[in-house]
C-alpha cells in the first residue's frame, strides 16, 4: 500500500477540518480527491506531505510513518501545493537543479533535462520562472514534483487556472504518471475525476462521504432518469421493478411510485404499457433528469 491514511483528524480551534478520515491509495492508481471548497482536501494533503501535523490518526507513505520517519516518507513523495508556489526570480533549469540537490538526486543534469522534456518545457528552459505563463509555471510545478522519481505524487488542484488545451495536456501527463506511481490529486471539477482517476474519494466538511472506483461512481454520477407515476389502484412493488429498463422503484406514498432508469432512457411508455396490461388506472406520469451535479450536491450538502 503506497499511502495509508488511518483515522486522520485535524482540528483548527473548535472546527474539525478533517474528521476521522481513512483511506488507502495503491500503486498504479490515480486517486481523485473530490469535494467542495473548504471540505478539507488541502488540509489532508498538507498532512500527508508532512507540512502540517495531525491531531489524531496516522499516515504511512510506502510503509514509513510520516510522523516518526519523516525523512524517509518525504523522500518518496512529490508534492505540488495549491497555487503552485515558485521562486519567480530563478531560472527553470536552475530551480529544477536546486530541487534535485535537495533530494540528493544523482546525475542532476540528465534528470533535469528528462523532466524538462517530459513536461514540455523544452523551449522555455532558459527563462526565468516569473516570465512564464500560468500553464508553463504549472508544468514547472509538476516537473519539480516528479524530479526525484517519487513513488507517490500529491497534486493539489493541478489544473486550476489553465486553459482547456493545457488542461487536456496536463491530464494526459497525470494519467501516464498514474500507470507506474501512486497519484493523489484534488479537484472540485467532477469531469476531471472522470477523465483521469481510477478511484475517487469525496469529502465534505471534513468527513468522508464516498470512496469508490470511478466506474461505480460514474453510474451514480452519470445521472439518471426519474419517472414519477401515480395509479388509482395499489400495485405490487416486485412487479413494478420488473418493468423493462427500470433499475429500481421507490414508493413515495399511497399508490405513488418513483421509477429510476439510466440517463437518457425514457421509460414512460413501458410504465404506461404496464399499467394497461395490469388494468391499473394511470393518474399521473412525469419524467425528470438527475444531473451529475445533482448527485454531487446531494452527497455534499
Amino acid at each position: 500500500m503506497s499511502v495509508k491514511v488511518t483515522n486522520l483528524t485535524k482540528i483548527y480551534g473548535l472546527q474539525h477540518a478533517v474528521d476521522h478520515i481513512s483511506f488507502e491509495a495503491r500503486k498504479g492508481e490515480v486517486l481523485g480527491f473530490l469535494g467542495p471548497n473548504g471540505a478539507g482536501k488541502t488540509t489532508t494533503m498538507k498532512i500527508i506531505t508532512g507540512y502540517l501535523p495531525q491531531n489524531e490518526g496516522s499516515i504511512e507513505v510506502c510503509g514509513f510513518d510520516v510522523g516518526t520517519k519523516p525523512m524517509e516518507a518525504r523522500a518518496r513523495v512529490g508534492y505540488l501545493p495549491e497555487h503552485n508556489p515558485l521562486y519567480r526570480e530563478m531560472y527553470v533549469r536552475e530551480y529544477l537543479a536546486f530541487t534535485a540537490g535537495l533530494h540528493q538526486v544523482k546525475n542532476v543534469a540528465k534528470q533535469v533535462d528528462e523532466m524538462v522534456e517530459r513536461t514540455g518545457l523544452g523551449s522555455h528552459r532558459h527563462k526565468q520562472i516569473g516570465e512564464l505563463s500560468k500553464g508553463y509555471r504549472q508544468r514547472v510545478g509538476l516537473a519539480q514534483a516528479m524530479l526525484h522519481d517519487p513513488e507517490v505524487l500529491i497534486l493539489d488542484e493541478p489544473t486550476s487556472g489553465l486553459d482547456p488545451n493545457q488542461i487536456v495536456e496536463i491530464r494526459q501527463l497525470i494519467k501516464d504518471l498514474g500507470k507506474e506511481k501512486t497519484v493523489i490529486l484534488s479537484t472540485h471539477i467532477l469531469g476531471e475525476v472522470e477523465a483521469v482517476c481510477d478511484r475517487a474519494i469525496i469529502i465534505n466538511k471534513g468527513k468522508l462521504v464516498a470512496d469508490a472506483p470511478i466506474q461505480e461512481l460514474k453510474q451514480q454520477f452519470a445521472g439518471q432518469t426519474v419517472v414519477t407515476a401515480e395509479f388509482a389502484e395499489s400495485a405490487d412493488k416486485n412487479l413494478l421493478a420488473k418493468i423493462k429498463n427500470v433499475h429500481s422503484v421507490k414508493s413515495l406514498g399511497k399508490n405513488q411510485w418513483q421509477f429510476f432508469a439510466a440517463s437518457g432512457q425514457d421509460i414512460r411508455a413501458e410504465v404506461f404499457a404496464f399499467a394497461v396490461a395490469n388494468r391499473l388506472t394511470l393518474l399521473e406520469l412525469h419524467k425528470t433528469e438527475h444531473s451529475v451535479e445533482d448527485v454531487f450536491q446531494q452527497l455534499t450538502k
Binding site: R74, Y79, P85, Y87, M90, T99, G101, L102, Q104
Partner: protein, 243 residues
Amino acid sequence: MLPIFKKEINAFFSSLIGYIVIGVFLILMGLLLWVFPEFSILDGAYANLDTLFAISPMVFMFLIPAVTMRSFAEEKQTGTIELLATRPITDWQIVGGKFLACFALVAFALVPTILYYVSVYQLGAPPGNLDSGGILGSYIGLLFLAAAFSAIGVFASSLTNNQIVAFVLATFLCFFSYLAFDYLSRLPIFFGKTDDIVQSIGIAYHYDSVSRGVLDSRDVIYFISIISLFLAATVLSLGRRRW
C-alpha cells in the same frame, strides 16, 4: 544544507541585493575612513584602523537586517516555504543554509577592507608600525558580530511574512543586543553592584574584548551561544505551524 546555501548566494547575486550590500558598505567605509575629515585616518595622528572597527557594528546593524529580511519572510509570503518544508531535509538544515549564506555575503563585503590594512601599514612611520595582532583580533570580532547579527536577522525574518516588519524587528534586536545592555548597566539600580554582569550580556562588551586582540574563550563561547540561541529560536519559530 549546501543546496540551500548555494541557492541563497545565487539569489543575492542574481538580484541586486548582493552588489548593493557590498557596494554600500565599501563606499560608506571608504568615505568615513579616508574622506570625511571628522573620522579620516589621514587626518588622525595614529596609523590604526580603530575607526573601521568602531563604525562597522553601526553599519552592520542596518545592513545585515537588509540582507536577512527576505530569507524566510519571502518564502512565507509566496508559499515556497511549504515546498521547502516537505523536502527530505530538516528545519535545521534550512535555517543553517540560510544563515550561512547571509553570513558569507557580509564576510565577503569585509574582504576588500584588507586593502585598508595594507594602506595603513604603509602609512605608518616607520612602515609597518601598527598593531597587527589587534587588527586580526578586531577582524575576528567583526566576523563574530556579523554572524550574531545574521542569526538575529534570520530569526526576525522567520517571525513574519512581511519583509519590512522583519527588517525593523531585526534592526531593533541587533541594536538592543549590541548596545542596550551597555546603557542599561548605567542605571542606578545596577550601578556599582551588578553593572558588569548586565554589561556582559550585551554583544558590545564581548566585541570590544575580542577587538583588543586577546581571544578569550569566554568571548568565543558567548558568541557561539548567542548565534546558536537565535538559530534554535528560528527553528522553533518555523515549527510554529505544528503547534
